[in-house]
């Protein structure tokens, strides 16, 4: 099993993703720079990490979409390979049309940096046996409001591609931190639900020292999915 963590100019959660995969989950992991035109031949999981790629100029993820490495990421996704976009990575996946819709300004205009509760809505490679579970994960974003037109939202619901939904944690905070339509926190896509994008940071909730180990479940599930292929 080999995981690749992409590095764009302005990525800042690349080390977190590498650490979690390599040291917590125990997966062979390497960085892949955005200028590369190929992924490692035997790569199983590609992670687009959080951060502010290209300074978030124009729109979050809009310029990263044209990075050299993205053609290889698209080919990997089209082949059914696992792709995980976290936060800015999710924004990049929507801009690259690997996932539908768009992520835009939080409804309260604030950068939201806190823990949220999300419910796992469906099983998939990253959420095996987790359906119905509520996970406690941190968010850190100003542009996480999911938007798509009514027909797209309808198709997402009908095809059960909403992977995570914000739910009330009973902590007095708004359940939905950004105004996302349908309370969407994460989406599955790709030919086999092999592409996952989510705004919360599972890699920052994978060790008890960090307050939650719920995020580790996603990576462990992805490892099982990769090994089963």
């Amino acid at each position: 099993m080999l995981a690749a963590v992409l590095q764009f100019p302005g990525s800042n959660a690349d080390f977190d993703a590498f650490h979690t995969l390599s040291h917590v989950v125990g997966v062979r992991t390497q960085y892949v720079f955005h200028k590369e035109s190929a992924l490692p031949a035997d790569v199983d999981l590609v992670v687009l990490p959080g951060g502010f790629s290209y300074g978030d100029y124009l729109r979050c993820g809009a310029i990263a979409r044209f990075a050299n490495i993205m053609a290889a990421v698209r080919a990997h996704a089209d082949r059914g390979g696992l792709v995980l976009g976290i936060c800015n990575g999710f924004q990049i996946l929507t801009e690259a049309h690997l996932l539908p819709g768009a992520l835009t300004q939080n409804v309260n205009l604030r950068f939201e940096c806190r823990d949220v509760s999300v419910r796992v809505e469906v099983d998939g490679p990253f959420t095996q046996d987790l359906r119905g579970r509520t996970l406690r994960l941190p968010i850190a974003h100003a542009e996480g409001r999911y938007h798509a037109d009514a027909a797209t939202l309808d198709a997402l619901e009908r095809n059960r591609l909403v992977a995570f939904r914000y739910v009330d944690a009973g902590d007095g905070e708004a359940a939905n931190p950004n105004g996302s339509l349908h309370d969407i926190a994460g989406l599955y896509g790709g030919p086999k639900r092999n592409v996952l994008g989510l705004m919360p940071h599972p890699e920052r909730a994978s060790e008890s020292l960090l307050g939650s180990v719920d995020g580790r479940l996603l990576f462990q599930s992805a490892v099982r999915a990769a090994l089963a292929r």
Binding site: Q105, H147, G179
Partner: protein, 86 residues
Amino acid sequence: MRARVYVTLKREVLDPQGEAVRKGLQSLGLAGVREVRVGKLIELEIDDTAGDVNEALRVAVEKLLVNPVIEDGRVEVEAAASTAAP
């Protein structure tokens, strides 16, 4: 040649920034401002000897400058200023 691309949020997309600006205007005493929508203006200087400018603009708008999921784009083209102008 100079071109301007006006990028605006689609009607059905909530614009919290515009609403914040509207509240600011209300605080200024401008209670009559009912709605504010904030967009952006992108100016491009294009070498019109290097190929089809309209095609270049179309590609720029469709592929990068506007995200059609949430935004609309409008292009204005300004004729080249005469090089003899003072």
